[in-house]
């Protein structure tokens, strides 16, 4: 779909797991991106 819309898109082989395995840098998810799901407590 990205390509259809004119974006130059690529897929990273192995995804996050391959990135982590290669020892490349990671970061924590930004607080504003966290989805707050309801809880009973």
């Amino acid at each position: 779909m990205l390509r259809e819309k004119g974006f130059n898109a690529f897929i990273i082989v192995g995804g996050l797991a391959a990135w982590r395995k290669a020892g490349q840098p990671l970061e924590s998810v930004p607080r504003e991106d966290l989805v707050k799901l309801p809880t009973f407590s």
Partner: protein, 270 residues
């Protein structure tokens, strides 16, 4: 089915409790049928109701409790896994959580009668940190209703065992037909996947090393790394590729408006 009847006749209480427990933990076993057969067995004086009913109730609540604590200790991971079969995992998690928050107690009582929902209720209660005593009360109520409903059905139909035995051959034929349709659907699905993957091969793939080299070069400014994991960030401990942004793959039309066309987009998931 005759196998089930003879198993219940031979092993009595143990086998029915095992089947009930197995269904409670999400295994595809016919607990309702086993309960009905046990009801008929009680009517025929093969089993005793005062022994069987408490055992079946304990088996079902034990299975549910296991899933409750699995939900409690795995957070949203278990729900995410259960939602994988859904067409839209993201909204499945959100809808399930919100719906359960509004109607959690009622859901626990009636969930046993709704295939699919029966397995979702206990882990949801655990993930959403429902008090265990509260969970136990509502779950036991639901389990008691379920056990009694199917047990009574079998008990009241005194010739139930005969009826299901004589219907076995017809049921067997029906199962064969269902299996055949399932096999055809399976082949069609895999042919569709094959075709779909052929289309996906059009999108170039890059190795991590190749991307790292690009990020280390003067072209780094033209690179945008995008996280397209279908499950949202529900856990504060989640990590992602440094410098990447997230887009919601189930809402791609809207999300694409955020992406700059002048950059090369590198997509990744788990």
């Amino acid at each position: 089915m005759t196998d089930l009847v003879s198993l219940i006749t031979r092993h009595g209480y143990g086998i029915v409790v095992a089947i009930v427990f197995a269904e409670a933990v999400g295994l595809p076993v016919p607990a309702a049928l086993a309960l009905a057969v046990a009801g008929a067995a009680v009517a025929g004086h093969v089993l005793r109701a005062q022994v069987f009913l408490p055992l079946a109730l304990v088996g079902m609540v034990a299975g549910d409790t296991l899933l409750f604590f699995a939900g409690r200790y795995t957070g949203w991971t278990l729900l995410g896994w259960l939602c994988k079969v859904s067409a839209n995992p993201e909204s499945c998690i959100l809808r399930s959580a919100e719906s359960f928050y509004k109607r959690g107690k009622t859901t626990l009582v009636v969930a046993k009668f709704v295939p699919g929902v029966n397995t979702m209720g206990p882990p949801l209660a655990g993930s959403m940190k429902m008090r265990f005593s509260q969970f136990l009360g509502f779950d036991a109520m639901g389990a008691a209703l379920y056990v009694l409903a199917y047990f009574t059905l079998g008990y009241l139909g005194h010739d139930f065992l005969k009826a299901i035995s004589s219907g076995f051959h017809a049921a067997g034929r029906a199962i064969e037909e269902v299996l055949l349709v399932g096999a055809v659907a399976y082949v069609i699905y895999h042919l569709w996947l094959l075709r779909k993957n052929r289309v996906y091969r059009v999108v170039p793939r890059v190795q991590v090393q190749e991307l790292m080299e690009r990020l280390a070069s003067e072209e780094a400014g033209r690179v945008l790394v995008v996280d397209v994991r279908s499950h949202g960030y529900y856990d504060a401990e989640t990590s992602r590729i440094k410098g990447s942004i997230r887009i919601e793959p189930n809402n791609l039309e809207e999300e694409l408006k955020k992406l700059p066309k002048e950059k090369d987009i590198y997509l990744y998931c788990t």
